[in-house]
């Protein structure tokens, strides 16, 4: 194993990278797919068992169990469905993979960031500070950022409370204590959600022009993910570097923003009357997407804090010229010119 790693020929390095990547992919796929095997198995065996029955009425009841609808005098949501099976599946997804894997994912993110900090420490501004600054974010941009940021944090805390509070907070707060908190959380979460979406839309409008991918971005990734992993490297970057563009803007604000917002609206009943089956799916998507987003934002926050001088851009709107040159050289040139 050790010898294997010591082999530093480019071919061997490439091969090792491939192996690591492939196993990583397989691993990921297994995480997602393996639990499904159980459903497949139980589904098949149930079908086999059903076929063994000869009672003609059994077919009738099987149809009922599969959610056939009928008539009922009671008005309301899906009251004409005798049995819905989706609920069990949703329960197993939510209490199974979603509830089991996402904490690990978040833990992994935090752990990774922690490790990164241990290994890399703060990313200092190289050289001495001249005291000259350039304007990085105007007032409007900063207001938007903090508006979205604060709502994001509130929604994260309240959302995670609802997902994990039963396991984590009830032992701490007790049943009624947690219930009060959860009641407050759901109220806050549901009411602030739409405001958050407004913020996301504003943020997209504010920054979309600086997030159009360019050839520079590809280069940025190639050079050790913008030098985060490799010390001392500072690849070219525009106003936003490729990492910010891809993770924070495109994946975060655009993709996850849309997913989380739309599913959120569905969950609070703003997009028509949905069937339970839809709501179950939407609930899982909302949770998974949100957690992925939270992971990304953790990284975003980490980099904002761990990169010396970055935070000032969002607090005072000004960054030192040295910082700008170091992290966003192309933008700096542009800014100087303009």
């Amino acid at each position: 194993m050790c010898g294997f790693i010591k082999d530093k020929t480019p071919k061997a390095v490439a091969r090792r990278k491939r192996i690591v990547l492939t196993s990583f992919a397989i691993l990921l796929a297994s995480v997602v797919l393996l639990p499904l095997g159980g459903y497949l198995y139980s589904g098949l065996s149930a079908q086999a068992a059903a076929e063994e029955q000869t009672n003609p009425r059994a077919n009738y009841w099987r149809a009922v169990r599969q959610g056939n609808t009928g008539y009922t005098a009671v008005m309301g949501q899906e009251t004409n469905t005798l049995i819905q099976n989706g609920g069990q599946n949703w329960r197993q997804w939510r209490n199974g993979p979603v509830a089991n894997i996402s904490p690990w994912f978040l833990a992994l993110v935090l752990l990774s960031l922690g490790l990164l900090f241990l290994l890399r420490g703060t990313m200092k501004i190289e050289g001495t500070l001249s005291g000259r600054t350039v304007t990085r974010y105007n007032v409007a941009e900063r207001v938007i950022h903090w508006y979205v940021a604060i709502l994001f944090i509130i929604l994260t805390i309240t959302g995670l409370s609802l997902l994990f509070g039963r396991a984590v907070l009830i032992p701490i707060l007790g049943y009624s204590g947690f219930s009060d908190w959860a009641n407050f959380s759901i109220l806050l979460h549901n009411y602030l959600g739409p405001f958050f979406t407004v913020g996301v839309v504003l943020a997209v409008i504010a920054w979309i022009k600086d997030n159009i991918p360019t050839a520079t971005d590809w280069q940025w990734f190639k050079e050790g993910v913008g030098g985060i992993l490799a010390k001392g490297k500072h690849p070219h970057a525009e106003r936003f570097n490729a990492g910010e563009k891809v993770f924070v803007f495109w994946l975060g604000l655009i993709v996850l923003g849309a997913i989380v917002s739309i599913t959120g609206f569905m969950l609070i009943g703003w997009i028509g009357e949905q069937m339970r089956a839809t709501m179950q799916l939407v609930n899982v998507i909302h949770a998974v997407a949100s957690i992925v987003w939270i992971g990304i934002i953790c990284g975003h926050i980490y980099l904002g804090l761990a990169t010396e001088g970055a935070l000032q851009g969002m607090t005072r709107g000004q960054v030192s010229e040295e910082w700008a040159k170091q992290h966003h050289d192309l933008w700096y040139k542009q800014a100087k010119k303009g």
Binding site: S23, L27, V31, L34, Q92, N100, W104, L111, S112, S176
Partner: protein
């Protein structure tokens, strides 16, 4: 070097996430967790159980 270590670690951590309890019963039937309900104690009394059985006979009479 560190990158490799991190990836290996991450893989190991994620592997543990693959663990899933085969029984997803999160709630434990019969184990009371909420506020106090005096009915629970009452229901344990054999006389109460007998009363309910007699009541059932009344509802479903063979008379």
């Amino acid at each position: 070097m560190y990158a490799r270590a991190i990836i290996t670690l991450a893989a190991a951590v994620m592997l543990t996430a693959c663990y899933e309890s085969t029984d997803v019963t999160v709630h434990k039937p019969g184990v009371y967790k909420g506020a106090r309900d005096p009915l629970l104690a009452k229901q344990r009394a054999p006389e109460q159980q007998q009363t309910l059985r007699e009541r059932f006979a009344l509802v479903q009479p063979d008379r």
